[in-house]
């Protein structure tokens, strides 16, 4: 069954032009790709564009994938690079299109941050967005996507040890913030 094939086998088939193998790779990884992009650009529409562009670039570079790396890590690295590029472009556009006397729109809280969190989980998700980027990504990638610290390190540009530290610092901060709210 093609459904049970490893990512790496699917890549080999996709490289030969097999569309079903490509579809399956997309089915498996598009959500993680989108959420990683969202974690970096923090804009849903832009994150969707980034995810799409990253998959297109992945296909274009299929021949470069040698199988000594894990496919998911390789794909997510493309997503991460693409997201950082999109963010730079967006910031450049904003700098050039705004009058300097006008306050930067980013200082206003995002719409979903203004909504009152009803459950502890919603409040936690909101607090999560306040963490420094590497800590936030480490928590999201570890908890939501099940990535190991080594893979997370590759994606946030740090060692496995530093990724673990980022994760634990992030969780510790969340615990601290939540206990402050309760008091």
């Amino acid at each position: 069954m093609i459904r049970d094939e490893s990512d790496e086998r699917l890549v080999a088939s996709a490289r030969e032009g097999d569309e079903r193998a490509l579809d399956l790779l997309i089915r498996r990884h598009h959500a993680t790709a989108f959420r990683l992009a969202l974690g970096i650009v923090r804009d849903e529409d832009l994150a969707a564009d980034v995810a799409q562009d990253a998959f297109v670039k992945m296909v274009r570079a299929l021949d470069r994938f040698r199988g000594d790396a894990r496919f998911r890590t390789w794909l997510l690295t493309i997503v991460s690079n693409e997201a950082k590029g999109a963010l730079r472009k967006k910031n450049r556009r904003r700098e050039s299109s705004f009058d300097e006397s006008v306050p930067v729109a980013d200082s206003a809280p995002a719409l979903d941050d203004q909504v009152v969190a009803r459950t502890e989980g919603e409040r936690l998700r909101r607090e999560l967005r306040r963490l420094p980027q590497k800590q936030r990504l480490a928590v999201e990638l570890r908890l939501d996507e099940g990535l190991g610290f080594r893979e997370i390190g590759e994606l946030i540009g740090s060692s496995e040890g530093a990724a673990r530290v980022n994760y634990h610092h992030g969780v510790k901060k969340l615990r601290m913030w939540m206990s402050e709210v309760e008091r």
């Binding site: 569309e19 997309i26 969202l38 470069r64 459950t119």
Partner: protein, 177 residues
């Protein structure tokens, strides 16, 4: 297991990613350790609130864009020369149709004869290695334009690179007589 080990594994535990043995040993630890339990509760609450939802239709959008790129690049990708991947079992529809004038094939054969097969192999490996990971798409020049160039043999190289498997097989057949 130490608290550190448990805390590393908790995200997998709350997401039910562990096997029964690991699950049981973590749960045994949690029963006797209020600190790890507090963290487990926090992660559970985070997990229950759920990660961001994927926008409706995004998967289909990606499918369409990626399939189009696959069809596009199947025609321009250098032909792998290794035995196991040389079979090119790709769907015929994915390959972009391209007609090669017979004079171009003949001229390409002259190029191969002039420079020899080893060079051809070198060139292909070289161009494969230089394929950009995230660059712009390779410009797919029409073969006629390439060959009309005054650079003669040098200008012919990309034309050979962009031949399909079938065209190359034909060419090599001709070459080997």
């Amino acid at each position: 297991m130490s608290c550190d080990t448990i805390l590393d594994r908790l995200p997998d535990w709350v997401a039910n990613r562990l096997d029964p043995v690991e699950t049981a040993s973590i749960e045994r630890h949690l029963e006797g350790c209020p600190d790890c339990r507090a963290e487990a509760e926090l992660l559970r609450a985070l997990r229950d609130a759920g990660p961001a939802q994927v926008p409706v239709g995004l998967e289909e959008r990606i499918h369409a864009a990626a399939r189009a790129e696959l069809a596009e690049s199947a025609g321009t990708r250098p032909i792998p020369l290794t035995v196991e991947s040389g079979g090119a079992t790709g769907t015929p529809g994915a390959r972009r149709p391209r007609s090669v004038p017979s004079w171009a094939l003949g001229a390409a054969a002259v190029f191969v004869l002039a420079l020899g097969t080893p060079l051809l192999v070198d060139r292909m490996e070289e161009s494969d290695a230089s394929l950009p990971v995230s660059g712009e798409p390779a410009i797919d020049e029409p073969i006629a334009t390439v060959w009309a160039s005054a650079d003669g043999l040098i200008a012919g190289a990309p034309a050979i690179e962009s031949l399909t498997d079938e065209e190359l097989a034909l060419l090599l057949e001709e070459f080997e007589g």
